[in-house]
């Protein structure tokens, strides 16, 4: 038998003091001057696939054009509007403070890749070792080479991060990097400074042609709302 239970899906918490929402089927659940943007759906009709996640993100992008918002993580469901209201009441002070901090700002993501960060050592460029000692020595040199490369990359990306932090309200480095990615970070940038920030990234790319910069955004402030 299909489950007819209704769930309320939360998209974002927005500053609802100036503008009104007109984006059906999304609607606001307001408390004082903030509101949760929600959608109600029958549980049976909920989708949890990649397309649903992408559509969710696209809706947040549209909301971000009109409102200062705190995006909710995909898959945030509450029982009903009363539960949503309760969340807004309980966390009003925090949400209000965060919305004030984020007013007029958007997020940019930057990943820096280096082809040289992972040395591919195939059989062709590896010399044959005549004994165990030579093999261990070769391993040691390879290790030293990798460490030196990491050190140089780290120094470079630290300089880049510092430069970009100066142009943003906040910049955070992500700890998780692997493979060719030598840096991953997010920056909260004033809307009026966006083009300057982007041109600075372009200029840095020109200064470090051995690295590949991947700049994405503007995004709603996913990394700055907690």
């Amino acid at each position: 038998m299909p489950d007819e239970r209704m769930l309320t899906c939360m998209y974002a918490i927005v500053d609802y003091s100036a503008k009104r929402l007109n984006m059906p089927p999304l609607y606001p659940v307001a408390y004082k001057d903030i509101a949760a943007v929600v959608e109600t759906a029958c549980k049976e009709r909920l989708a949890f696939d990649q397309q649903a996640a992408v559509e969710y993100g696209a809706a947040l992008d549209v909301l971000n054009e009109t409102f200062t918002l705190l995006p909710c993580r995909f898959g945030t469901f509450l029982q009903d509007e009363r539960a949503v209201l309760q969340v807004l009441q309980e966390h009003y002070v925090f949400y209000k403070k965060k919305l004030e901090e984020l007013r007029g700002k958007q997020e940019f993501g930057l990943k820096i890749l280096s082809e040289k960060s992972v040395q591919v050592r195939n059989a062709n460029n590896k010399k044959q070792c005549k004994d165990g000692k030579e093999y261990l020595l070769q391993k040691f040199y390879e290790y030293r080479e990798d460490e030196e490369r990491k050190r140089v990359n780290q120094k470079t990306v630290d300089v880049i991060h510092e430069e970009l932090q100066k142009l943003s309200s906040m910049g955070v480095k992500n700890a998780e990097i692997s493979g060719h990615v030598v840096f991953s970070g997010n920056y909260l940038v004033e809307k009026k400074a966006e083009s300057f920030f982007c041109s600075k990234v372009e200029a840095l790319q020109g200064m470090y042609p051995e690295l590949k910069f991947l700049l994405t955004g503007p995004w709603p402030p996913y990394n700055f709302c907690r």
Binding site: G57, R73, F74, F77, G109, L214, N223
Partner: protein, 71 residues
């Protein structure tokens, strides 16, 4: 893959990373049922990888129950 496709893929991956891993987390998410088995809904990542498996389990369980009833 050309540069435009690669760039679109990067954007989709960045978007998915954000909507699935970042943003405001609200405690008190409800328990929802997948394939008639209630799960404590901790995060959609769990569901993304488990829905298919749960559906398979459901089919298997239905099959076993059917066999027992026939016997």
């Amino acid at each position: 893959m050309n540069e435009t496709d690669a760039s679109q893929n990067v954007t989709v991956l960045e978007l998915l990373d954000r909507v699935l891993n970042k943003g405001v987390v609200i405690a008190g998410d409800v328990t929802i049922s997948v394939a008639d088995i209630d799960l404590l809904y901790l995060g959609v990542k769990l569901l993304l990888c488990s829905v298919e498996t749960m559906e398979q389990h459901k089919e298997k369980v239905a099959g076993v129950i059917g066999e027992r009833e026939d016997a």
